[in-house]
Amino acid sequence: MKTNFFSPGILTPNGGKGARSIFAGALLVAAALLFACSTISTYDQAAYEHATNAKVDTLALMDKATGSYSSRTKDITALNLELDKAYEYDKGRPLNQITMTSWDVLRRPKGILNRFLTSWKTSGTLNSTFINDKKAHVGREFDDIIQLESGKIKTPQAQ
C-alpha cells in the first residue's frame, strides 16, 4: 500500500483529486495569514468623514475670529469635542499610529490650531489677512490626515 500522501490508492480513493483540494486549501490559508500581516490600518469611511467634517467645521469657526472670542466659546468647546471624538475613534483602530501622530501634531497645545485660538483669545479679535493665512495652514494639516486615510487600502467592508 502506497503511503505517499499524494498517491492515488486507499488513502485517496477519489483518484488524487483530494490532493489538489488540500494543496489549494493550504495555499489559501497561507495567503490569509500573510494578508493579515499589514503594516498600516486599512481605509475607514467613518474616519474619513470625521476628518473632513472636522476640517470644514474648524475652518468655519476660524472665519468667526473677526468677531469676539468670548462670543464663540461654546462653538470652540463644541469643536474641541468634535476633534476629541475623531481622535478617540482613530485611537481605537489597530495599526493606526501614523494617523494618531498626525492628530497629535494638529491638536498639540503649541500646534497651529491651538496657537490660533490662543491668539484669538489674547487679542479678542483677529484681522482677516492673518485668519486666511492660518486657515490655509490648518486646512493643509487636515488635508494630510484626509489624504492619508484616502490612500489606505480599501477593503470591501470598509467602504
Binding site: N4, F6, S7, G16, A19, R20, F23, A24, L27, L28, A31, L34, F35, C37, S38, T39, I40, I98, T99, T101, S102, V105, L106, G111, I112, R115, S119, N127, T129, F130, D133, K134, H137, R140, E141, D144, I145, Q147, L148, G151, K152, I153
Partner: protein, 110 residues
Amino acid sequence: MANIDVNKILRTAEQGIIHLAETTFTTYKTQAIADGKAFLTAAKADLTTYTQQLAMGQITLDQFKDLMQDEGDLAKMDALKEAGLAHAAFDGFINGVIGIMITAALSAIP
C-alpha cells in the same frame, strides 16, 4: 504523485511580481516626489507672501513669526502622510505578490 512544475510556478510569479513592483513603486515614488516639491513650493510662497503682508502692515511682526513657526508642523504633517502612504503602498504590493503566487500555483496544478 501530482506532477507540479514548481519552476514554472516561480517563473510565472516572478514576471508578475516584477511588473507589480515597477508599477506600484514607480507610482508611489512619482507621487512622493511631486508632494515634496509641492511642499517646498508652498513654503517658498508662504515666505514671500508673509514678508509682503508684513511690509504692507497687513499682519504684525508677531503674526509673521507665528506663521513662519507653522512651517515646522506643516513639514511634519507632510512627512507623516508620506510615511503612511509608503506603508499602504507596501501593503498593497505584498497583497499583490500573494495574489500572483496563488494564481501561478493554482494554474500549475494539473
